[in-house]
Symmetry: C2
Subunit: 314 residues, 2 copies
Protein backbone atom coordinates (compact mmCIF):
# COMPACT_ATOMS: atom_id res chain seq x y z
CA UNK A 1 0.00 0.00 0.00
CA UNK A 2 1.12 3.51 -0.80
CA UNK A 3 -1.11 5.88 1.18
CA UNK A 4 -0.85 9.50 0.13
CA UNK A 5 -2.89 12.68 0.39
CA UNK A 6 -4.57 12.15 -2.99
CA UNK A 7 -4.64 8.41 -3.63
CA UNK A 8 -4.28 4.93 -2.18
CA UNK A 9 -2.19 2.68 -4.43
CA UNK A 10 -2.37 -1.04 -3.64
CA UNK A 11 -0.53 -3.97 -5.21
CA UNK A 12 0.01 -7.67 -4.74
CA UNK A 13 3.78 -8.12 -4.94
CA UNK A 14 5.75 -11.38 -5.03
CA UNK A 15 9.02 -12.28 -3.32
CA UNK A 16 11.05 -10.92 -6.25
CA UNK A 17 9.34 -7.53 -6.13
CA UNK A 18 7.13 -8.21 -9.18
CA UNK A 19 3.65 -6.68 -9.20
CA UNK A 20 0.97 -9.37 -9.81
CA UNK A 21 -2.07 -7.12 -9.42
CA UNK A 22 -2.72 -3.51 -8.49
CA UNK A 23 -5.57 -1.18 -7.62
CA UNK A 24 -5.93 2.55 -7.02
CA UNK A 25 -8.58 4.61 -5.29
CA UNK A 26 -8.81 8.24 -4.20
CA UNK A 27 -7.99 9.17 -0.60
CA UNK A 28 -11.09 10.30 1.31
CA UNK A 29 -9.48 12.87 3.59
CA UNK A 30 -12.77 13.90 5.19
CA UNK A 31 -13.55 10.31 6.12
CA UNK A 32 -10.53 10.30 8.40
CA UNK A 33 -8.49 7.28 9.53
CA UNK A 34 -11.47 4.92 9.90
CA UNK A 35 -12.53 5.45 6.30
CA UNK A 36 -8.90 4.96 5.21
CA UNK A 37 -8.78 1.62 7.05
CA UNK A 38 -11.97 0.52 5.27
CA UNK A 39 -10.61 1.70 1.90
CA UNK A 40 -7.29 -0.10 2.43
CA UNK A 41 -9.12 -3.34 3.29
CA UNK A 42 -11.22 -2.92 0.13
CA UNK A 43 -8.01 -2.43 -1.90
CA UNK A 44 -6.50 -5.60 -0.39
CA UNK A 45 -9.57 -7.59 -1.49
CA UNK A 46 -9.47 -5.99 -4.95
CA UNK A 47 -5.82 -7.07 -5.45
CA UNK A 48 -6.20 -10.47 -3.78
CA UNK A 49 -9.77 -11.85 -3.75
CA UNK A 50 -8.32 -14.88 -1.96
CA UNK A 51 -6.81 -13.42 1.23
CA UNK A 52 -4.72 -16.59 1.64
CA UNK A 53 -2.47 -15.15 -1.09
CA UNK A 54 -1.58 -12.26 1.26
CA UNK A 55 1.14 -13.15 3.77
CA UNK A 56 1.50 -9.66 5.17
CA UNK A 57 0.63 -6.06 4.34
CA UNK A 58 3.01 -3.11 4.19
CA UNK A 59 1.82 0.49 4.13
CA UNK A 60 3.94 3.47 3.17
CA UNK A 61 2.44 6.68 4.57
CA UNK A 62 3.37 10.27 3.73
CA UNK A 63 4.27 11.40 7.24
CA UNK A 64 6.18 10.56 10.41
CA UNK A 65 5.65 6.96 11.42
CA UNK A 66 6.69 5.05 14.54
CA UNK A 67 7.49 1.92 12.64
CA UNK A 68 8.13 -0.25 15.69
CA UNK A 69 4.58 0.34 16.94
CA UNK A 70 2.87 0.87 13.57
CA UNK A 71 1.62 4.30 14.67
CA UNK A 72 1.26 7.22 12.25
CA UNK A 73 2.58 10.02 14.46
CA UNK A 74 1.93 12.91 12.13
CA UNK A 75 0.64 12.98 8.54
CA UNK A 76 -0.22 16.59 7.68
CA UNK A 77 -1.43 15.71 4.15
CA UNK A 78 -3.93 13.24 5.62
CA UNK A 79 -4.73 15.34 8.69
CA UNK A 80 -3.82 12.44 11.01
CA UNK A 81 -1.88 12.35 14.24
CA UNK A 82 -1.06 9.42 16.53
CA UNK A 83 -3.23 6.87 14.72
CA UNK A 84 -2.41 3.16 15.35
CA UNK A 85 -2.82 2.14 11.71
CA UNK A 86 -0.86 -1.11 12.02
CA UNK A 87 -2.90 -2.44 14.95
CA UNK A 88 -6.23 -1.49 13.34
CA UNK A 89 -5.37 -3.16 10.04
CA UNK A 90 -4.06 -6.31 11.75
CA UNK A 91 -7.38 -6.60 13.65
CA UNK A 92 -9.36 -6.52 10.40
CA UNK A 93 -7.03 -8.42 8.06
CA UNK A 94 -5.59 -11.01 10.44
CA UNK A 95 -2.10 -10.80 8.90
CA UNK A 96 1.06 -8.96 10.03
CA UNK A 97 1.07 -5.29 8.98
CA UNK A 98 4.16 -3.07 8.66
CA UNK A 99 3.71 0.71 8.57
CA UNK A 100 6.49 3.03 7.45
CA UNK A 101 7.12 6.51 6.11
CA UNK A 102 6.50 6.39 2.34
CA UNK A 103 10.01 7.40 1.28
CA UNK A 104 11.58 4.97 3.75
CA UNK A 105 9.36 2.24 2.27
CA UNK A 106 10.59 3.20 -1.20
CA UNK A 107 14.16 3.07 0.08
CA UNK A 108 13.77 -0.49 1.32
CA UNK A 109 12.26 -1.37 -2.08
CA UNK A 110 15.26 0.20 -3.82
CA UNK A 111 17.52 -1.83 -1.52
CA UNK A 112 15.75 -5.19 -1.95
CA UNK A 113 14.64 -4.92 -5.59
CA UNK A 114 15.99 -1.73 -7.18
CA UNK A 115 19.23 0.09 -7.89
CA UNK A 116 20.56 -0.57 -4.36
CA UNK A 117 20.02 -4.32 -4.29
CA UNK A 118 23.63 -5.52 -4.21
CA UNK A 119 25.17 -3.18 -1.62
CA UNK A 120 25.24 -3.13 2.19
CA UNK A 121 25.85 0.60 2.63
CA UNK A 122 23.24 2.59 0.79
CA UNK A 123 21.87 6.11 0.92
CA UNK A 124 18.57 6.71 -0.92
CA UNK A 125 17.39 10.27 -1.57
CA UNK A 126 13.98 10.99 -3.09
CA UNK A 127 13.28 14.53 -4.21
CA UNK A 128 9.59 15.17 -4.79
CA UNK A 129 7.51 17.90 -3.18
CA UNK A 130 9.58 17.15 -0.09
CA UNK A 131 13.00 15.55 0.27
CA UNK A 132 13.04 12.17 1.98
CA UNK A 133 15.36 9.25 2.22
CA UNK A 134 16.45 6.03 3.73
CA UNK A 135 19.75 4.60 4.94
CA UNK A 136 21.09 1.06 4.93
CA UNK A 137 24.33 0.50 6.83
CA UNK A 138 26.24 -2.75 7.18
CA UNK A 139 23.35 -4.61 5.53
CA UNK A 140 20.70 -3.34 7.94
CA UNK A 141 18.20 -0.51 7.52
CA UNK A 142 18.75 2.32 9.99
CA UNK A 143 15.55 2.96 11.91
CA UNK A 144 16.69 5.01 14.91
CA UNK A 145 15.26 5.07 18.41
CA UNK A 146 11.65 5.88 17.45
CA UNK A 147 11.78 4.34 13.99
CA UNK A 148 11.88 7.75 12.27
CA UNK A 149 15.52 7.91 11.09
CA UNK A 150 16.19 8.92 7.49
CA UNK A 151 14.74 12.43 7.36
CA UNK A 152 17.59 13.53 5.14
CA UNK A 153 15.51 16.46 3.90
CA UNK A 154 15.83 17.95 7.38
CA UNK A 155 19.59 17.67 7.62
CA UNK A 156 21.18 21.11 7.78
CA UNK A 157 22.37 22.75 4.58
CA UNK A 158 22.62 26.38 5.74
CA UNK A 159 22.60 27.26 9.44
CA UNK A 160 19.86 29.87 9.96
CA UNK A 161 18.92 29.73 6.26
CA UNK A 162 15.55 29.49 4.47
CA UNK A 163 12.49 28.61 6.53
CA UNK A 164 11.34 24.99 6.12
CA UNK A 165 7.84 23.53 6.44
CA UNK A 166 9.09 21.71 9.57
CA UNK A 167 9.56 25.07 11.30
CA UNK A 168 13.37 24.90 11.30
CA UNK A 169 15.68 27.02 9.15
CA UNK A 170 18.21 25.93 6.55
CA UNK A 171 17.03 22.34 5.96
CA UNK A 172 18.11 20.70 2.68
CA UNK A 173 14.41 20.41 1.77
CA UNK A 174 13.97 24.19 2.13
CA UNK A 175 16.30 24.55 -0.89
CA UNK A 176 15.80 21.41 -2.95
CA UNK A 177 12.26 20.12 -2.32
CA UNK A 178 9.71 20.71 -5.09
CA UNK A 179 7.88 23.30 -2.96
CA UNK A 180 11.17 25.09 -2.32
CA UNK A 181 12.13 25.09 -6.01
CA UNK A 182 8.74 26.69 -6.73
CA UNK A 183 9.26 29.28 -3.96
CA UNK A 184 12.76 30.13 -5.18
CA UNK A 185 11.42 30.43 -8.74
CA UNK A 186 8.63 32.79 -7.66
CA UNK A 187 11.17 34.96 -5.82
CA UNK A 188 13.50 35.01 -8.84
CA UNK A 189 10.61 35.96 -11.15
CA UNK A 190 9.49 38.73 -8.80
CA UNK A 191 13.03 40.05 -8.63
CA UNK A 192 13.57 40.10 -12.38
CA UNK A 193 10.24 39.77 -14.25
CA UNK A 194 11.96 40.03 -17.64
CA UNK A 195 14.27 37.08 -16.97
CA UNK A 196 11.29 35.26 -15.43
CA UNK A 197 8.99 35.64 -18.45
CA UNK A 198 9.63 32.12 -19.78
CA UNK A 199 8.73 30.60 -16.41
CA UNK A 200 5.54 32.69 -16.27
CA UNK A 201 4.69 31.59 -19.81
CA UNK A 202 5.25 27.94 -18.88
CA UNK A 203 2.94 28.39 -15.88
CA UNK A 204 0.22 29.87 -18.10
CA UNK A 205 -2.77 30.59 -15.89
CA UNK A 206 -1.54 28.23 -13.19
CA UNK A 207 0.93 28.54 -10.34
CA UNK A 208 4.69 28.47 -10.72
CA UNK A 209 5.61 24.94 -9.58
CA UNK A 210 8.70 22.74 -9.77
CA UNK A 211 7.14 21.01 -12.80
CA UNK A 212 6.71 24.40 -14.51
CA UNK A 213 10.36 25.24 -13.80
CA UNK A 214 11.41 21.87 -15.25
CA UNK A 215 9.37 22.54 -18.39
CA UNK A 216 10.86 26.00 -18.85
CA UNK A 217 14.36 24.59 -18.37
CA UNK A 218 13.68 21.84 -20.93
CA UNK A 219 12.58 24.59 -23.35
CA UNK A 220 15.93 26.32 -22.92
CA UNK A 221 15.13 29.06 -20.40
CA UNK A 222 18.38 30.11 -18.66
CA UNK A 223 16.74 31.21 -15.36
CA UNK A 224 14.89 27.90 -14.97
CA UNK A 225 18.07 26.01 -15.84
CA UNK A 226 19.98 28.03 -13.23
CA UNK A 227 17.33 27.31 -10.56
CA UNK A 228 17.59 23.56 -11.23
CA UNK A 229 21.36 23.70 -11.35
CA UNK A 230 21.35 25.40 -7.92
CA UNK A 231 18.97 22.71 -6.68
CA UNK A 232 21.39 19.98 -7.73
CA UNK A 233 24.28 21.85 -6.11
CA UNK A 234 22.35 22.08 -2.85
CA UNK A 235 21.58 18.34 -3.00
CA UNK A 236 25.26 17.66 -3.72
CA UNK A 237 26.48 19.79 -0.81
CA UNK A 238 23.99 18.23 1.59
CA UNK A 239 24.90 14.72 0.43
CA UNK A 240 28.65 15.43 0.68
CA UNK A 241 28.17 16.20 4.36
CA UNK A 242 26.21 12.97 4.90
CA UNK A 243 28.77 10.93 2.95
CA UNK A 244 31.31 11.86 5.64
CA UNK A 245 28.91 10.76 8.36
CA UNK A 246 27.70 7.50 6.77
CA UNK A 247 30.36 6.44 4.22
CA UNK A 248 27.86 4.79 1.81
CA UNK A 249 28.93 2.60 -1.10
CA UNK A 250 26.12 3.85 -3.32
CA UNK A 251 23.71 6.79 -3.49
CA UNK A 252 20.42 6.23 -5.30
CA UNK A 253 18.49 9.32 -6.39
CA UNK A 254 14.80 9.34 -7.34
CA UNK A 255 11.50 11.16 -7.02
CA UNK A 256 9.63 13.54 -9.32
CA UNK A 257 12.22 16.33 -9.41
CA UNK A 258 15.01 13.89 -10.35
CA UNK A 259 12.88 11.77 -12.71
CA UNK A 260 11.77 14.98 -14.49
CA UNK A 261 15.36 16.24 -14.77
CA UNK A 262 17.60 13.17 -14.96
CA UNK A 263 20.64 15.30 -15.92
CA UNK A 264 20.65 16.60 -12.34
CA UNK A 265 22.10 13.27 -11.15
CA UNK A 266 25.40 14.09 -12.90
CA UNK A 267 25.56 17.54 -11.31
CA UNK A 268 24.80 16.10 -7.87
CA UNK A 269 27.51 13.47 -8.38
CA UNK A 270 30.14 15.98 -9.48
CA UNK A 271 29.42 18.27 -6.50
CA UNK A 272 29.57 15.35 -4.05
CA UNK A 273 32.91 14.18 -5.50
CA UNK A 274 34.32 17.70 -5.46
CA UNK A 275 33.36 18.20 -1.79
CA UNK A 276 34.29 14.81 -0.37
CA UNK A 277 37.50 13.50 1.21
CA UNK A 278 38.89 10.95 -1.31
CA UNK A 279 38.57 7.79 0.82
CA UNK A 280 34.84 8.54 1.10
CA UNK A 281 34.32 9.00 -2.63
CA UNK A 282 36.70 6.65 -4.43
CA UNK A 283 34.33 3.66 -4.36
CA UNK A 284 31.11 5.69 -4.15
CA UNK A 285 28.56 5.08 -6.93
CA UNK A 286 25.51 7.07 -8.09
CA UNK A 287 22.36 5.56 -9.62
CA UNK A 288 18.78 6.40 -10.59
CA UNK A 289 16.13 4.41 -8.69
CA UNK A 290 14.96 1.97 -11.45
CA UNK A 291 11.63 1.14 -9.79
CA UNK A 292 9.52 3.89 -11.44
CA UNK A 293 5.98 4.71 -10.23
CA UNK A 294 5.64 1.27 -8.58
CA UNK A 295 8.47 2.12 -6.14
CA UNK A 296 6.07 2.89 -3.30
CA UNK A 297 4.08 -0.37 -3.40
CA UNK A 298 7.13 -2.55 -4.10
CA UNK A 299 8.91 -0.95 -1.14
CA UNK A 300 5.92 -1.35 1.17
CA UNK A 301 5.64 -5.01 0.13
CA UNK A 302 9.31 -5.64 0.89
CA UNK A 303 8.70 -4.19 4.37
CA UNK A 304 5.68 -6.48 4.79
CA UNK A 305 7.88 -9.45 3.91
CA UNK A 306 10.47 -8.37 6.47
CA UNK A 307 7.77 -8.03 9.14
CA UNK A 308 6.52 -11.54 8.32
CA UNK A 309 10.05 -12.93 8.68
CA UNK A 310 10.50 -11.13 12.00
CA UNK A 311 7.24 -12.60 13.31
CA UNK A 312 8.19 -16.10 12.07
CA UNK A 313 11.58 -15.81 13.80
CA UNK A 314 10.07 -14.59 17.08
CA UNK B 1 46.68 2.11 22.46
CA UNK B 2 45.93 5.74 21.75
CA UNK B 3 48.36 6.86 19.05
CA UNK B 4 48.50 10.61 18.54
CA UNK B 5 50.84 13.18 17.07
CA UNK B 6 52.54 13.90 20.42
CA UNK B 7 52.23 10.73 22.50
CA UNK B 8 51.50 7.02 22.58
CA UNK B 9 49.23 6.11 25.50
CA UNK B 10 48.98 2.40 26.27
CA UNK B 11 46.88 0.56 28.84
CA UNK B 12 45.95 -2.94 29.90
CA UNK B 13 42.14 -2.87 30.17
CA UNK B 14 39.86 -5.58 31.52
CA UNK B 15 36.46 -6.74 30.25
CA UNK B 16 34.64 -4.12 32.31
CA UNK B 17 36.70 -1.25 30.89
CA UNK B 18 38.90 -0.88 34.00
CA UNK B 19 42.53 0.15 33.49
CA UNK B 20 44.90 -2.33 35.21
CA UNK B 21 48.17 -0.76 34.00
CA UNK B 22 49.17 2.07 31.72
CA UNK B 23 52.23 3.53 30.04
CA UNK B 24 52.98 6.64 28.01
CA UNK B 25 55.78 7.54 25.63
CA UNK B 26 56.37 10.38 23.19
CA UNK B 27 55.59 9.86 19.50
CA UNK B 28 58.74 9.79 17.37
CA UNK B 29 57.37 11.38 14.23
CA UNK B 30 60.73 11.33 12.42
CA UNK B 31 61.08 7.60 13.05
CA UNK B 32 58.03 6.98 10.88
CA UNK B 33 55.67 4.00 11.01
CA UNK B 34 58.38 1.39 11.71
CA UNK B 35 59.55 3.23 14.81
CA UNK B 36 55.92 3.60 15.92
CA UNK B 37 55.42 -0.17 15.58
CA UNK B 38 58.50 -0.78 17.73
CA UNK B 39 57.34 1.81 20.30
CA UNK B 40 53.85 0.29 20.45
CA UNK B 41 55.33 -3.18 21.02
CA UNK B 42 57.51 -1.73 23.80
CA UNK B 43 54.40 -0.15 25.38
CA UNK B 44 52.53 -3.48 25.24
CA UNK B 45 55.40 -5.16 27.11
CA UNK B 46 55.54 -2.31 29.63
CA UNK B 47 51.82 -2.72 30.44
CA UNK B 48 51.81 -6.52 30.29
CA UNK B 49 55.21 -8.17 30.93
CA UNK B 50 53.41 -11.48 30.48
CA UNK B 51 52.01 -11.29 26.93
CA UNK B 52 49.58 -14.13 27.78
CA UNK B 53 47.54 -11.49 29.62
CA UNK B 54 46.92 -9.70 26.30
CA UNK B 55 44.05 -11.24 24.31
CA UNK B 56 44.05 -8.59 21.60
CA UNK B 57 45.31 -5.08 20.93
CA UNK B 58 43.25 -2.09 19.82
CA UNK B 59 44.82 1.08 18.45
CA UNK B 60 43.04 4.41 18.08
CA UNK B 61 44.84 6.60 15.53
CA UNK B 62 44.32 10.29 14.84
CA UNK B 63 43.48 10.00 11.14
CA UNK B 64 41.41 8.16 8.55
CA UNK B 65 41.54 4.44 9.08
CA UNK B 66 40.25 1.55 6.98
CA UNK B 67 39.14 -0.45 9.96
CA UNK B 68 38.22 -3.58 8.03
CA UNK B 69 41.79 -3.92 6.73
CA UNK B 70 43.61 -2.27 9.64
CA UNK B 71 45.20 0.27 7.29
CA UNK B 72 45.91 3.86 8.34
CA UNK B 73 44.86 5.66 5.16
CA UNK B 74 45.86 9.16 6.12
CA UNK B 75 47.21 10.53 9.41
CA UNK B 76 48.48 14.08 8.76
CA UNK B 77 49.66 14.57 12.37
CA UNK B 78 51.84 11.46 12.07
CA UNK B 79 52.80 12.05 8.44
CA UNK B 80 51.55 8.59 7.48
CA UNK B 81 49.54 7.39 4.50
CA UNK B 82 48.37 3.88 3.58
CA UNK B 83 50.30 2.07 6.31
CA UNK B 84 49.09 -1.47 7.21
CA UNK B 85 49.45 -0.96 10.97
CA UNK B 86 47.14 -3.83 11.95
CA UNK B 87 48.98 -6.44 9.86
CA UNK B 88 52.42 -5.26 11.01
CA UNK B 89 51.47 -5.36 14.70
CA UNK B 90 49.81 -8.80 14.36
CA UNK B 91 53.02 -10.16 12.83
CA UNK B 92 55.07 -8.98 15.82
CA UNK B 93 52.60 -9.52 18.66
CA UNK B 94 50.84 -12.69 17.49
CA UNK B 95 47.42 -11.50 18.74
CA UNK B 96 44.46 -9.96 16.88
CA UNK B 97 44.85 -6.20 16.37
CA UNK B 98 42.02 -3.73 15.69
CA UNK B 99 42.88 -0.30 14.25
CA UNK B 100 40.38 2.54 14.28
CA UNK B 101 40.16 6.31 14.09
CA UNK B 102 40.83 7.65 17.60
CA UNK B 103 37.48 9.36 18.08
CA UNK B 104 35.61 6.34 16.76
CA UNK B 105 37.55 4.22 19.27
CA UNK B 106 36.51 6.62 22.03
CA UNK B 107 32.91 6.37 20.81
CA UNK B 108 32.89 2.58 21.14
CA UNK B 109 34.35 2.99 24.64
CA UNK B 110 31.59 5.46 25.51
CA UNK B 111 29.07 2.93 24.19
CA UNK B 112 30.48 -0.13 25.97
CA UNK B 113 31.70 1.43 29.22
CA UNK B 114 30.74 5.13 29.37
CA UNK B 115 27.73 7.42 29.19
CA UNK B 116 26.26 5.54 26.21
CA UNK B 117 26.39 2.04 27.65
CA UNK B 118 22.66 1.32 27.98
CA UNK B 119 21.33 2.58 24.63
CA UNK B 120 21.17 1.11 21.13
CA UNK B 121 20.98 4.39 19.20
CA UNK B 122 23.82 6.66 20.15
CA UNK B 123 25.58 9.64 18.66
CA UNK B 124 28.95 10.56 20.17
CA UNK B 125 30.53 13.92 19.36
CA UNK B 126 34.03 14.83 20.55
CA UNK B 127 35.15 18.42 20.16
CA UNK B 128 38.89 18.81 20.53
CA UNK B 129 41.24 20.40 18.00
CA UNK B 130 39.01 18.73 15.43
CA UNK B 131 35.42 17.51 15.66
CA UNK B 132 34.98 13.74 15.45
CA UNK B 133 32.36 11.25 16.36
CA UNK B 134 30.86 7.84 16.23
CA UNK B 135 27.41 6.41 15.63
CA UNK B 136 25.69 3.34 17.03
CA UNK B 137 22.36 2.44 15.43
CA UNK B 138 20.10 -0.45 16.39
CA UNK B 139 22.81 -1.78 18.72
CA UNK B 140 25.51 -1.89 16.05
CA UNK B 141 28.34 0.55 15.36
CA UNK B 142 28.03 2.20 11.95
CA UNK B 143 31.24 1.64 10.01
CA UNK B 144 30.27 2.43 6.41
CA UNK B 145 31.63 0.91 3.21
CA UNK B 146 35.32 1.65 3.85
CA UNK B 147 35.10 1.66 7.64
CA UNK B 148 35.41 5.45 7.84
CA UNK B 149 31.84 6.47 8.77
CA UNK B 150 31.36 8.92 11.65
CA UNK B 151 33.21 11.99 10.37
CA UNK B 152 30.54 14.20 11.91
CA UNK B 153 32.96 17.14 11.91
CA UNK B 154 32.73 17.12 8.13
CA UNK B 155 28.95 17.19 7.93
CA UNK B 156 27.75 20.43 6.36
CA UNK B 157 26.84 23.35 8.59
CA UNK B 158 26.95 26.20 6.07
CA UNK B 159 26.99 25.51 2.34
CA UNK B 160 29.99 27.35 0.88
CA UNK B 161 30.99 28.61 4.34
CA UNK B 162 34.35 28.75 6.15
CA UNK B 163 37.25 26.77 4.70
CA UNK B 164 37.99 23.52 6.56
CA UNK B 165 41.31 21.67 6.92
CA UNK B 166 39.79 18.89 4.77
CA UNK B 167 39.65 21.30 1.82
CA UNK B 168 35.85 21.58 1.81
CA UNK B 169 33.84 24.62 2.87
CA UNK B 170 31.26 24.96 5.61
CA UNK B 171 32.04 21.80 7.63
CA UNK B 172 30.87 21.77 11.26
CA UNK B 173 34.54 21.46 12.30
CA UNK B 174 35.39 24.70 10.46
CA UNK B 175 33.19 26.51 13.02
CA UNK B 176 33.37 24.41 16.18
CA UNK B 177 36.72 22.61 16.21
CA UNK B 178 39.40 23.98 18.57
CA UNK B 179 41.45 25.26 15.62
CA UNK B 180 38.38 27.01 14.23
CA UNK B 181 37.51 28.60 17.59
CA UNK B 182 41.07 29.95 17.67
CA UNK B 183 40.78 31.25 14.10
CA UNK B 184 37.42 32.91 14.78
CA UNK B 185 38.87 34.46 17.95
CA UNK B 186 41.89 35.85 16.07
CA UNK B 187 39.55 37.37 13.47
CA UNK B 188 37.33 38.90 16.15
CA UNK B 189 40.36 40.35 17.95
CA UNK B 190 41.74 41.81 14.71
CA UNK B 191 38.35 43.34 13.94
CA UNK B 192 37.91 44.97 17.34
CA UNK B 193 41.23 45.03 19.27
CA UNK B 194 39.62 46.83 22.23
CA UNK B 195 36.98 44.13 22.74
CA UNK B 196 39.70 41.55 22.15
CA UNK B 197 42.09 42.84 24.80
CA UNK B 198 41.09 40.26 27.43
CA UNK B 199 41.74 37.42 24.96
CA UNK B 200 45.14 38.91 24.06
CA UNK B 201 45.94 39.24 27.78
CA UNK B 202 44.97 35.62 28.39
CA UNK B 203 47.23 34.56 25.52
CA UNK B 204 50.15 36.50 27.03
CA UNK B 205 53.15 35.92 24.78
CA UNK B 206 51.58 32.82 23.26
CA UNK B 207 49.12 32.22 20.45
CA UNK B 208 45.38 32.73 20.73
CA UNK B 209 44.05 29.18 21.08
CA UNK B 210 40.74 27.59 22.07
CA UNK B 211 42.17 27.07 25.56
CA UNK B 212 43.00 30.78 25.78
CA UNK B 213 39.46 31.67 24.70
CA UNK B 214 38.07 29.31 27.37
CA UNK B 215 40.26 30.96 30.03
CA UNK B 216 39.16 34.46 29.00
CA UNK B 217 35.52 33.37 29.06
CA UNK B 218 35.95 31.82 32.51
CA UNK B 219 37.42 35.17 33.65
CA UNK B 220 34.26 36.96 32.48
CA UNK B 221 35.30 38.33 29.08
CA UNK B 222 32.14 38.95 26.99
CA UNK B 223 33.81 38.44 23.58
CA UNK B 224 35.28 35.07 24.60
CA UNK B 225 31.92 34.05 26.07
CA UNK B 226 30.20 35.03 22.82
CA UNK B 227 32.69 33.01 20.74
CA UNK B 228 32.04 29.91 22.85
CA UNK B 229 28.29 30.50 22.81
CA UNK B 230 28.41 30.67 19.01
CA UNK B 231 30.45 27.45 18.99
CA UNK B 232 27.77 25.66 21.01
CA UNK B 233 25.07 27.04 18.70
CA UNK B 234 26.95 25.71 15.67
CA UNK B 235 27.28 22.30 17.32
CA UNK B 236 23.57 22.37 18.17
CA UNK B 237 22.54 23.27 14.62
CA UNK B 238 24.76 20.62 13.12
CA UNK B 239 23.51 17.99 15.56
CA UNK B 240 19.87 18.95 14.97
CA UNK B 241 20.33 18.11 11.29
CA UNK B 242 21.91 14.75 12.15
CA UNK B 243 19.21 13.97 14.70
CA UNK B 244 16.70 13.99 11.80
CA UNK B 245 18.91 11.64 9.80
CA UNK B 246 19.80 9.19 12.60
CA UNK B 247 17.10 9.55 15.31
CA UNK B 248 19.46 8.75 18.22
CA UNK B 249 18.22 8.03 21.74
CA UNK B 250 21.20 9.75 23.34
CA UNK B 251 23.91 12.24 22.37
CA UNK B 252 27.17 12.10 24.33
CA UNK B 253 29.46 15.13 24.14
CA UNK B 254 33.13 15.14 25.09
CA UNK B 255 36.60 16.30 24.13
CA UNK B 256 38.78 19.16 25.33
CA UNK B 257 36.52 22.02 24.23
CA UNK B 258 33.49 20.50 26.00
CA UNK B 259 35.43 19.30 29.06
CA UNK B 260 36.94 22.80 29.42
CA UNK B 261 33.52 24.46 29.09
CA UNK B 262 30.95 22.00 30.45
CA UNK B 263 28.19 24.64 30.40
CA UNK B 264 28.24 24.38 26.60
CA UNK B 265 26.39 21.03 26.81
CA UNK B 266 23.25 22.84 28.01
CA UNK B 267 23.43 25.36 25.16
CA UNK B 268 23.96 22.57 22.61
CA UNK B 269 20.99 20.68 24.07
CA UNK B 270 18.68 23.71 24.00
CA UNK B 271 19.58 24.51 20.38
CA UNK B 272 19.05 20.89 19.29
CA UNK B 273 15.64 20.75 21.03
CA UNK B 274 14.61 24.10 19.55
CA UNK B 275 15.53 22.99 16.01
CA UNK B 276 14.20 19.43 16.04
CA UNK B 277 10.83 17.96 15.05
CA UNK B 278 9.23 16.79 18.36
CA UNK B 279 9.15 13.03 17.69
CA UNK B 280 12.94 13.20 17.20
CA UNK B 281 13.59 15.06 20.45
CA UNK B 282 11.02 13.92 22.99
CA UNK B 283 13.04 10.92 24.20
CA UNK B 284 16.45 12.32 23.24
CA UNK B 285 18.98 12.60 26.09
CA UNK B 286 22.26 14.53 26.42
CA UNK B 287 25.25 13.45 28.49
CA UNK B 288 28.92 14.20 29.14
CA UNK B 289 31.30 11.35 28.27
CA UNK B 290 32.25 10.11 31.81
CA UNK B 291 35.44 8.34 30.69
CA UNK B 292 37.86 11.27 31.14
CA UNK B 293 41.43 11.16 29.79
CA UNK B 294 41.37 7.32 29.68
CA UNK B 295 38.60 7.41 27.04
CA UNK B 296 41.00 6.69 24.17
CA UNK B 297 42.64 3.58 25.63
CA UNK B 298 39.39 2.20 27.08
CA UNK B 299 37.72 2.64 23.70
CA UNK B 300 40.61 1.04 21.81
CA UNK B 301 40.53 -1.89 24.25
CA UNK B 302 36.80 -2.41 23.70
CA UNK B 303 37.49 -2.54 19.97
CA UNK B 304 40.24 -5.11 20.57
CA UNK B 305 37.74 -7.22 22.54
CA UNK B 306 35.24 -7.02 19.67
CA UNK B 307 37.92 -8.07 17.18
CA UNK B 308 38.79 -11.05 19.37
CA UNK B 309 35.13 -12.09 19.52
CA UNK B 310 34.81 -11.76 15.74
CA UNK B 311 37.88 -13.96 15.23
CA UNK B 312 36.57 -16.54 17.72
CA UNK B 313 33.20 -16.62 15.94
CA UNK B 314 34.78 -16.97 12.48
Amino acid sequence: MDLGGTKIHAALVDARGRVAASHRTGTDIEGGPSKAVADIVRCVHACAPDLAEVGAVGVGVAGQVDTKKGIVRSAPNLGWSDFPLGERLEQVLGVPVAVENDVRAISWGVWRHGAGRDVDDLLVLFVGTGVGGGIVSGGLPITGDRGVAGEIGHSTLVQGGRLCTCGRRGCLEAYAGGWAIAARAREAVAEDPEAGQAILDAAGKGEVTAVVVSQAAADGDPLAARLLDETARCLGSGLAGLVHVLNPRRIVLGGGVIDGNPHLVDIVESVVREQTIPIFSDRLEFRGSELGPQAGVIGAASLARRRLQERSAA
